[in-house]
Amino acid sequence: MTAPRPVARCDGAARTFGHGPRAVVALQPTTCEIFAGTRIAVTGPSGSGKSTLLHLLAGLDAPTLGTVTWPEIGPRDALRPSRIGVVFQGPSLLPPLTVGENVALPLLLAGRTEAEATSGARAALERLDLADLASKLPEEISGGQAQRVAVARALTGHPVLLLADEPTGQLDHGNATAVVDVLEEAARHSGAALIVATHDPEVAERLPERWLMRDGRLAFTTAQRAWLR
């Protein structure tokens, strides 16, 4: 029996912004592996490197040192639009597109026909109980609804890795709970790996595994803590 391959792997990956004396190290050399079905909360204070780690794992940014690979998925070009779903911090819906069009966009970018994309988007919205909002523009819905729509959009391509960067940062408690519910449910249902960067302890407590980051370093994981105990 062969060991399962990780969905994503960081091998001494580090990210530095700027050069020379003004250089800022956002992420120190980090090594980690993410497997399918894992649900991880990455916590830590602001500026600790949570978002940078997520961006590297999502392939949205490249490490300045070390490597990030996606053994289960393939090369970087194969990541999007469907294999990795990303929920961004703050408003991320395209303002001139309706909710339905926003959700359908990744499918269109993946080469699906317009009819397939529309039906896929409808299914994703229905799954999150957002079908009523399909024809509305982002400016016409609340922040919580917009974030749930962003989750729906991340799920449309049935990703194997779902990354959410502070998805509840600008939401009230009720909306935050609803968004995390949706993310957890989606990950559980699809078997995708879920990583949520958050500094909300309540959100972090909802996920089985938690990673703590401090000063750009992965301080420890829950597995390490258990081992320490």
Partner: protein, 888 residues
């Protein structure tokens, strides 16, 4: 202090929007101020040229019973008079002479007595054609009538006295005969008096001998004029110069206390230049002001591109307690900085253009007007900056909450009021009505009554292009919005080659931003229309200036034989061999009496003159140029006459017309039958007033004289001046040879002379800059404002090709939509401008000239600007999406 910190921050963090606004202001200010420099240079040149054209500034006529010597003395002592010489005028009952064994007698005429040095003092009054330039001189036409040559004796008839005999020393042309023989003291606007057909000029001493007995017997037939040259330190503007000169003339008359009246030739010429100066100002209004307004609109659009960021800035300031007044104050500071930089830059550019293109590094003809132009342009620049930045900031600060300011601008909802009220259609209907009404009949834009200081402009007619511009701009917006709102499906199909599978999504995004895109399309349309209409107007103007020069000169090179010469048509073959000659067209020039009026008659070869003289349909009435020439061919007795003659003699088509022409066989005037076939308004080498055009073969047959007066020469591409030089050697010293290049510099209207080219060259360059900015900058800034949207799309997996679909579809819509709508607007506006400003065209054009190269360049530039904007945007999107999201 806080305000300065804010300004410092804006300069450091938002330099793009400041630079864009300042650039827009600079273009508007430079355009306005350089037009000021053009007007300054133009008006000064018009005055100078008017002065240069006048041979005798004043003709002060001693009134009956007064002492001419005292009039002369008073005139000489009048301030500003540099030269004053007495000239005697007497009436003769007729001149007679004997040539070739037959006697010739003319009708009544004039005898002039010229003091020594007259020709030198008043250059241009006399042109020697043969013999000496002094002594007893015969006018060209008189010599023709008498068949007289230098050395012949002519008898001068004196009322109630035996004729006096004088020996002719030379034959001269009197280029200024109209003013020389004017009726001094005629009321302003009175019908001009035709100069006499028979004139003999005598030296003052001979004049006294010949005329003294007549003066003793019939003092009413003899008078004295003092011909005056003035100091020409006049104001630069023709209007002010006219006011001063005519005022001085009235002052001299009041000093002469009724003993003398002033014939104010200089005033009359400046009077004509006034209306040209007014036309120049109107050209500014029609060609310059739309450019400045387009630049202002462009500036506002560029500044509006940063509206969202400004809204967010305002929201931040609001959270820190800034009041509306504070927010508006900060915006005003930003506007003042952008406006100040733009004004300084614009004035600098205008000065540079003025010095290099117009030869005048000033903004006005006088210090006051220079200050007004510079100040006015600067004020306009600051107002544009204020309107572009402060006004929207004030509206936002009053109406938006912090939360709303953070949100994107709302999607277009209810149509704006102008759209609901149909203001665009109303403006266009109004423009059409005014245009139709103004140009229906007897339309004149500028009316400058002769001798009256005030000139009036038909401002009502100007409403047509103004309403046209407003209506067309608004309609372009409406149409673009309509297509984006209601035409999504066809638009998606059209854009499928660019958008691919994303075409519907791309069109959906465009439709939701239709307000912004429609504004961009309308701006490009108006800018393209401005550039194209200016270019077509300029090309048409140049075309007509060329036609004017050709009309005056007749051809590339023209040979005018003296009236005494009897050159045969076969001489054309000798001229043909001069080198550089493509073709030679002989043209008869005779004089013909219709009733008591003497008019020029041109005998043409109907089969070849249309091509050789480049005849235009607009020069004729009652048929096309080729049709009427065909008529002359098929009916040899057919004759074309002037509109004035048709009116004066109540002629009907086909009517028999009996003209009297000089018969070559008898040397006497004989009656020749012609038939009225049509109207000739203009004809190569013909005068502006009345003339006839007839079949040369018929004229030669009935007058027993095939002599040719003029040869029209077309060159084979060799420079007309070079061909003229060769032709002079063949034609000999008695013939006058002129070429079109030289003629173009000498004659023509004041506007032609001062070189509209300078103004239009500057305008056309500005138009190109505006078109490039309207397409490229507006698109680029629009894309830059939406870089977060593009970055999100990129983060979702959009590849360069997918992002390109959004960028290129938008670029294509704005460029193609703008260019097509702009071309349609340009067609309408140009037709309107050519009609409304018909006074600047002499003669009026058959059809507008289309400068295809410039227009092609214009479209290419718009496409290139859009391509660069799209290319730069896509290049910038190559950065990792997340870094764009982080920065945005």
């Amino acid at each position: 202090m806080a305000a300065l910190s804010w300004l410092h921050g804006v300069v450091r963090r938002r330099p793009g929007r400041l630079v864009a606004t300042a650039a827009g202001v600079a273009v508007a200010v430079a355009l306005l101020a350089s037009i000021g420099a053009f007007l300054s240079a133009t008006e000064a040149k018009m005055t100078q040229r008017a002065i240069a054209r006048v041979g005798v500034d004043w003709q002060v006529e001693a009134q009956p019973g007064s002492d001419p010597a005292r009039v002369l003395a008073a005139t000489r002592h009048f301030p500003g008079v540099t030269r004053a010489l007495p000239v005697g005028f007497a009436a003769t009952t007729g001149l007679s002479g004997t040539a070739g064994g037959s006697g010739q007698t003319t009708g009544p005429g004039r005898v002039l007595g010229l003091p020594p040095g007259y020709a030198r003092a008043f250059g241009g009054q006399l042109r020697t054609l043969s013999g000496r330039g002094d002594g007893v001189l015969l006018a060209q036409q008189t010599a023709a009538n008498l068949h007289a040559q230098p050395g012949d004796t002519v008898a001068v008839g004196r009322a109630g006295l035996p004729p006096a005999h004088v020996r002719v020393d030379g034959i001269v042309d009197l280029p200024e005969a109209d003013s020389l023989f004017q009726r001094v003291g005629a009321p302003p606007g009175a019908q001009a008096q035709a100069p006499p057909d028979n004139v003999v000029l005598l030296p003052a001493a001979t004049f006294r001998t010949v005329v003294a007995p007549l003066a003793a017997k019939r003092a009413d037939l003899v008078r004295t004029q003092v011909h005056v040259r003035l100091r020409h330190d006049l104001p630069a503007s023709p209007g002010a110069a006219f006011t001063r000169v005519s005022g001085q003339a009235r002052q001299l008359e009041s000093r002469l206390v009724g003993s003398g009246l002033v014939g104010d030739n200089l005033g009359a010429t400046l009077d004509k230049a006034r209306s040209d100066a007014l036309y120049a100002e109107l050209l500014f209004l029609f060609l310059g002001l739309p450019g400045a307004i387009v630049a202002a609109l462009l500036t506002a659009t560029l500044a509006a591109g940063g509206a969202q960021r400004r809204r967010e800035d305002q929201a931040l300031l609001r959270t820190r307690g800034a009041t509306t007044r504070r927010l508006v104050g900060l915006a005003a500071l930003e506007a003042a900085l952008a406006g100040g930089v733009g004004v300084a830059l614009g004035l600098g550019i205008a000065l540079l253009l003025g010095a290099t293109v117009f030869g005048s590094a000033s903004f006005g003809a006088s210090t006051l007007s220079a200050l007004l132009w510079a100040g006015g342009s600067a004020l306009a620049g600051l107002l544009i900056a204020g309107a572009a930045i402060t006004l929207p900031a004030w509206r936002q600060a009053r109406s938006l909450t912090v939360a709303a300011a953070h949100r994107a601008p709302p999607r277009p909802g209810r149509a704006p009021r102008w759209q609901r009220w149909g203001l665009d259609v109303a403006c266009l209907v109004g423009a059409a009505l005014v245009y139709w009404q103004a140009s229906a009949n007897g339309y004149q834009l500028v009316v400058a009554p002769e001798g009256v200081p005030q000139v009036s402009v038909n401002w009502y007619a100007l409403l047509a292009p103004i309403l046209g511009w407003i209506g067309a701009g608004l309609l372009a917006y409406r149409l673009a919005e309509l297509v984006l709102n209601r035409g999504r499906r066809p638009l998606a199909r059209t854009l499928h080659p660019v958008g691919g599978p994303l075409a519907s999504t791309v069109v959906a995004t465009m439709s939701r931003q239709r307000g912004l895109l429609a504004r961009a399309v309308a701006l490009v349309a108006v800018t393209v229309a401005f550039a194209a209409s200016t270019a077509v107007f300029d090309a048409t103007y140049r075309q007509q200036a060329g036609v004017d020069a050709r009309l005056t000169n007749g051809a590339d090179v023209t040979v005018n034989e003296p009236s005494t010469a009897t050159t045969a048509p076969a001489f054309a073959q000798r001229l043909q061999r001069a080198g550089g000659v493509a073709s030679v067209e002989p043209l008869q020039h005779r004089y013909a009496y219709i009733g008591p009026d003497l008019q020029d008659l041109y005998g043409v070869r109907p089969t070849t003159i249309a091509a050789a003289g480049k005849l235009q349909d607009a020069w004729f009435a009652g048929g096309s140029a080729s049709g009427l020439m065909h008529r002359l061919q098929t009916q040899p007795s057919a004759v074309l006459v002037s509109e004035e003659t048709v009116r004066d003699y109540q002629l009907s088509p086909g009517e028999l017309l009996r003209l009297r022409l000089l018969d070559g066989a008898t040397g006497r005037f004989a009656t020749v039958p012609f038939h009225y076939a049509g109207v000739a308004r203009e004809f190569p080498t013909a005068p502006l007033d009345s003339f006839f055009v007839a079949n040369a073969g018929y004229v030669a047959r009935v007058t027993h004289n095939p002599a040719v007066g003029t040869f029209l020469i077309s060159t084979d591409g060799t420079s007309p001046a070079a061909v003229a030089s060769r032709v002079r050697r063949v034609a000999g010293p008695t013939a006058s040879v002129t070429d079109i290049t030289t003629q173009r510099k000498i004659v023509g209207s004041n506007l032609t002379a001062v070189g509209m080219a300078g103004l239009t060259k500057v305008e056309l360059v500005f138009a190109l800059v505006l078109v490039a900015a309207a397409t490229g900058l507006v698109l680029a800034l629009g894309f830059a404002e939406r870089r977060r949207t593009f970055a999100i799309a990129s983060a979702l997996g959009a590849r360069a090709r997918d992002l390109g679909a959004f960028v290129w579809a938008e670029s294509l819509l704005v460029t193609v939509g703008g260019v097509v709508l702009g071309a349609l607007i340009a067609v309408a506006i140009t037709a309107m401008l050519i009609t409304i400003l018909s006074g600047v065209f002499d003669p009026p054009p058959d059809a507008p000239a289309i400068p295809w190269a410039y227009l092609g360049g214009l479209v290419a530039l718009a496409a290139a600007a859009a391509a660069i904007a799209g290319g730069v945007t896509l290049r910038r999107l190559r950065r990792p999406a997340i870094s764009v999201l982080r920065d945005a």
